[in-house]
Symmetry: C2
Subunit: 337 residues, 2 copies
DNA sequence: GGTTTGAAATGAAACCTTTCAGTTCCGTTG
DNA sequence: CAACGGAACTGAAAGGTTTCATTTCAAACC
């Protein structure tokens, strides 16, 4: 009971060879119904459970795909994960959610773990720019799809046009008459952050505003706490330098900043207009409902998984594809009173 | 290059036996430094990566623990997961996060998956009451710890006293003068929900309020959307039956309800006071900062993982333990103006 | 009756690691 | 110089599954 039964035990009990048991498990139609039933009964009686490790060893690769994200605490990524998981499930694959937490070491750690597990494939939002480790993995034959991050032709990727997103956000603020605008986000080494910033710059330039009219406030992380501390930083600025509107690189920052600003008894958007990014579910329920740049999170996950499956199936001459979604600005009270 | 090297290849290249390679990998101190270096170099040159499947097969169990939660979209569970993961990582274990999504079938599916993977252990917040499947797993020798759920002496569990939490929440509302109080949550088959409701009833009784002064509104799920639709339901009630305050079984519901209520231009807490549960990070940043019952989420995860390790180490005569944390009421503007 | 055919069942080999009893080798000791 | 001891290394076995070339068997055919 405690020691689990193997196919051999099942075979013995059913009075067949172990090959037949395997056939019952994997190609039931090739086994005579009577035999099949007998084997099934033996499986029941012995409480036989397939040993996935042995299957994997034989197959050479596992049926698990790794999804490496920057922050599981960010609803953006959990929504993404849902999309991935649903699509993966349809192909009988399971998903391991790995939280790199913006940390290079953790990312490396998870990547080597996934390699040891001979992962079926990897979906990753990389921490840094360097793709050496990822290239190495791809060279071993494991399909890799970059998520929420564009790429060159050398690899598959699924992304939302972050530059356009940044542009939309800041153009919106400019159209409301703001002239001094803050950008809150970081670390700037994260690609999405720098792209959104680049988009913001494009909007500034298009409106003929000076470069230094965009005040960049770099944060250590993209979380609520960092957003809160940004509030102090902004409040401490001399009035003539202080921005009248802020574009945050994601909603967590925006919510943190919003919370802090409200606690200082400043009005949003009166004293400070705020735009977020991602349009997570909590953005609409915020102290002041948040204007945000919406990304198709679940579809992003689905598309990523589909690309991965595609890459896994046409093993050799695979043509890498880059899927790019377009973001959408959702206007709420945090910018328009 | 594409085909990965095995210990045998490494051994051949380094001119040693495969046993020595294994020793370099697992007990480096038993190998002469010179040999060790030679093997290491061979590993480097061949790009050898350990095959986890083969290790598992040999070892009989994997180094993965399964964490089965009701809803990954709920920050309560992702915070919990963080606690679990940190503690697991220290012992070289990895965590697979499984989202049962309140669904019996999905739960069953994940449990059998974890069994096939010969999981090192399982942490689970079960969907229903029935523990037949879980008992069966425990009988195979896999340690199981119930999370966010008390239990009898027959199994390990980590929980927060939900009854006390419900009592705290409703006692608070009563102390503010409310006489007709709503309870929002569901499905009631979820243990945490029914316990919190039970606590609410205790508070009502203690205050000498009639049983039917507690209006129970059962929701299909514990998410923001359900919270929003509850708003309509409450608005549609005749004024004399309509509660003046509501206790929601979790913060997602509370945030949804809050959002809907605000959109109806009703004031919170003026027209409707709201208490949530979990005190997730977004509760404080809500439209009206949310009064909520705080649970030690991260510690909960840590404690669960520690219990699991404990159960895994004293294989035989393990004494099951029940760890119960006490919740804490955090009062904010959603109840006090 | 003998031969052919095809479905059904068989069982050895392969997948890769870890373990452990056994061997080798070299320096020490009596 | 023989015997011993211990460190270093070896290599076979085990672990459970899947695959596939082979074998078996009964029915169909000539």
């Amino acid at each position: 009971m405690s020691e689990s039964a193997s196919v051999v035990d099942v075979a013995a009990r059913a009075g067949v060879s172990l090959g037949t048991v395997s056939n019952v498990l994997n190609r039931p139609d090739r086994v005579a119904p009577a035999t099949r039933d007998r084997v099934m009964r033996a499986i029941q009686e012995l409480g036989f459970v397939r040993n996935e490790a042995a299957r994997q060893l034989r197959a050479g690769r596992s049926r698990t795909i790794g999804l490496v994200v920057l922050d599981v605490g960010n609803p953006f990524f959990t929504d993404l994960a849902r999309g991935v998981e649903t699509t993966a499930g349809k192909s009988g694959l399971s998903v391991v959610l790995c939280n790199s937490n913006d940390d290079d070491d953790r990312e490396r750690h998870y990547l080597s773990l996934l390699q040891e597990q001979r992962a079926f494939g990897i979906l990753i939002t990389p921490v840094g720019k360097e793709t050496a480790a990822i290239d190495a993995i791809r060279r071993t034959g494991t399909p890799v799809v970059l998520v929420d991050r564009g790429s060159n032709r050398r690899q598959c990727s699924v992304s939302v046009n972050d530059r356009v997103g940044g542009e939309l956000a800041v153009a919106h603020l400019i159209s409301l008459g703001h002239k001094r605008i803050g950008f809150v986000g970081g670390p700037l080494t994260i690609n999405q952050v720098s792209e959104r910033l680049a988009g913001a710059r494009v909007a500034m330039e298009a409106a003929g505003l000076a470069e230094d009219a965009l005040v960049v406030i770099e944060t250590p992380r993209l979380d609520v706490a960092s957003g809160r501390s940004t509030g102090a930083e902004i409040a401490a600025m001399p009035a003539r330098r202080r921005p009248t509107a802020v574009f945050c690189a994601n909603d967590l920052l925006a919510l943190g900043l919003l919370q802090d600003t409200t606690q200082r008894h400043k009005s949003v958007p009166g004293d400070l207009a705020i735009v977020g990014y991602d349009d997570i579910e909590f953005a609409a329920a915020a102290a002041v409902p948040l204007t945000s740049v919406r990304q198709p999170r679940v579809q992003l996950g689905q598309a990523a998984m589909e690309l991965l499956l595609e890459e896994a199936s046409d093993a050799d001459g695979h043509q890498h594809r880059q899927v790019v979604f377009e973001p959408e600005l959702v206007i709420r009270e945090s910018t328009t009173s």
